[in-house]
Amino acid sequence: MINNKLKKTYTINELKGAFLFLLPLILFLLLFILIPIVGTFITSGFRDVSFLEKKFIFFDNYKTLFSDSVFWHDFGFTVVFVIVSVSLEMLLGISFALLLNQYLPFRGLLRAVVLIPWAIPVAISARIWELIYNYHYGLANYLIMQLGISKEPINWLGTNIGAFFALVLSDAWKTTPFVTIILLTGLQAIPKEIHNQAKVDRAHFFQRFYKITLPLLKPVIVVALLFRTIDGLRIFDLIYVLTHGGPGGSTSSISLYGYKYFLSGDFGYGSAISVSLFIVAFALSLLYIKIGRFGKEIL
């Protein structure tokens, strides 16, 4: 179907040229994405423990996974973390994007400044947040005590809820700029005429936002959601540095759980954990692509 359509639109030579240009990308995807994924699938079918004999065990790793309460806890944590942090990031991202789309003094500078958190590697920003939350000399405790909100310092990372929101906040600080920039490009693609016309019709700000901006922004929002969701599902570095899954394993994510198995030499079970994460991410991607109706307009 698609092939016929392509042949109708382009000449053979054009198609050849296009393929040649795509070849490096295809090779890259094969070598670094497809082969490792298939490899992980295969490994997950084995009892592949470095200190035990390697044995093919079909789906036994997955059977163990289904009854592994720690896995389900970490799975649940990851999903809740994604929902809360991505919602927060989208909300903040849209607000910032709308703001930066206005005529502001130093708009160029502001747009650059907003990007700074995104430019800092996660491991480093996690260290910065670690210092902010520090019980003895952290900024957070300094502020609440100076402002008289609390007399005693708070052990931010010491309770399940506290550690969870500490992570969400750090993640939002780091990735909201990414959402902002993507949405900003989307906002700029909306022709001003439409807004002007609506103004003539006396549509107020919220009406224009819901009836014009939001529908036209939808494809870009879906892209931002897609990136953030997948990125959030595989959360590892922030947790590794900030809480290391603590207190008592309450903030451990699927990636962190899988990593621990690779470290201890159980590659089979670790792979099964990775595959489970892949399946969830893949299913969500398909869902988003369907919602975003990508590809329909192109052909």
């Binding site: 200190f51 670690e130 019980y135 010491g158 399940n160 809480t243 603590g246 207190p247 008592g248 030499g265």
Partner: protein, 428 residues
């Protein structure tokens, strides 16, 4: 037109990617991580070794973080790479590496090279470096938990000796913390490692071991849910919540370095830490310089003091293509002369017993006399291939108990069930 030069370039790049396998055998690759000053010392030692033997040593530099150093080695060994030939390992992974058949047995080499195993701490060699009767590594330096105390503050309150029992530690802490708080509101009695990581296990073994408890796994049976362990765990929790002589962030942020800095800033009376902290506490700009002492850790009334054995060991990869040269290097590193050098330059604790009585060493590091006894009685963690899985489970539950999210008897019961499962899965 395809240019000849482009073809050449592509060939070069391909060969560059694939052709890293070395061919010469008079070259060994040594994988080592650590603080920058440690790497500098290694580089010096290596150039001396190269001159002495004519064997070239390439350093494969690793991060400081223990988990990341391990990750780098696991990947290379799992892929059966001939590099690195020789590397340092934390005592806690020796079981896994040996059981995975990644380590070359050293027995014959050691005999040929006339390395006297008797000059090392016997317990360390037997409990950590031997696997199924074979010698699979040699200790480069060892560690054990110690109690650091503020001499000046104890004297000020008329206390002559450091505490022998936990009860004494508790009483001294409560008393001195109360009076010190008048000037320093941030002062605490006792700091130790309670964050969710390997160090928590080491601390737990010391508390529980000094009460006759501990982690016992033998013949597929787990013994952790014992009254001794329950009492120890309760004491650990009480230090934070009931007596409040340990800071509330003990179970979230307190790892070696956090504890070390807290004590070094003068904010604590007692500290549990590894021997490395001594040199830093005594450095020029340290507020506690010359105000501290060390002793073995306290114990419960009925038990005796226990220190968890730590430290790093050197071994040879089974896949090395230069095992003889690698052994030459191990012989060099573990020799008395180099061990003494490492001690003098880095303050490391050698596994060779005689160095603790060496005149030069005692002159520079007078506390070494006391250390010898501590090391002689250091207590290893279970030397099992699946120790990591065991550690993960225990870390999680002890940390939950300290955080107050899981109740003590329930925590121990669940640890027991989970450990039993780990043993069933991996003990084959």
């Amino acid at each position: 037109m395809v240019n000849k030069n482009i073809v050449l370039l592509i060939v070069c790049i391909t060969v560059g990617f694939v052709g890293c396998e070395k061919k010469e055998t008079n070259v060994i690759t040594f994988s080592v991580g650590g603080a920058p000053n440690e790497i500098v010392v290694w580089e010096k030692l290596i150039s001396e070794f190269e001159v002495q033997t004519g064997i070239k040593v390439n350093i494969l530099r690793q991060p400081t973080d223990t988990d990341q150093r391990r990750q780098g080695l696991v990947i290379a060994l799992k892929a059966k790479k001939s590099n690195p030939d020789v590397f340092l390992m934390d005592v806690a992974w020796l079981g896994q590496f040996a059981a995975s058949d990644w380590l070359e047995p050293l027995d014959t080499y050691v005999k040929e090279k006339d390395i006297e195993l008797d000059s090392f701490f016997t317990k360390v060699i037997n409990l950590a470096d031997k696997y199924k009767g074979n010698l699979i590594a040699l200790p480069v330096y060892i560690d054990a938990g110690l109690l650091y105390y503020r001499k000046d503050l104890l004297n000020k309150h008329g206390i002559k000796n450091p505490p022998r029992t936990w009860k004494e530690l508790l009483n001294y802490s409560i008393k001195i913390q109360k009076s010190e708080r008048e000037n320093a509101p941030n002062f605490y009695g006792f700091v130790w490692q309670g964050a969710q990581y390997e160090g928590l296990i080491c601390n737990f073994i010391e508390f529980a071991g000094s009460n006759g408890g501990g982690i016992l796994i033998k013949d597929g049976k787990v013994l952790i849910n014992s009254p001794e362990n329950r009492e120890s765990l309760e004491f650990m929790k009480d230090l934070i919540t009931k007596y409040q002589i340990s800071p509330p962030n003990t179970f979230t942020e307190m790892k070696e370095e956090e504890v070390r800095m807290f004590f070094q800033q003068g904010n604590a009376l007692f500290e549990r830490n590894w021997p490395y902290a001594w040199k830093l506490h005594q450095s020029e700009d340290s507020p506690v310089k010359n105000k501290i002492g060390i002793s073995s850790l306290p114990h419960f009334n009925s038990g005796k003091s226990v220190s968890t054995l730590g430290g790093w060991h050197i071994g040879i990869s089974k896949y090395s293509d230069a095992k003889l040269q690698a052994m030459e290097f191990i012989g060099f590193v573990t020799s008395a002369r180099i061990q003494k050098k490492l001690t003098l330059e880095l303050g490391w604790n050698p596994a060779r017993k005689d160095i603790y009585l060496d005149k030069d060493i005692l002159q520079k590091l007078p506390y070494f006399r006391e250390l010898r006894d501590v090391f002689e009685n250091a207590y290893p963690r279970p030397n099992l291939p699946f120790y990591t899985q065991i550690s993960e489970v225990i870390q999680k539950y002890i940390n939950s108990v300290l955080a107050g999210t899981v109740e003590i008897s329930k925590g121990l019961k669940e640890t027991d069930i989970k450990l039993q499962k780990v043993v069933e899965t991996y003990d084959k």
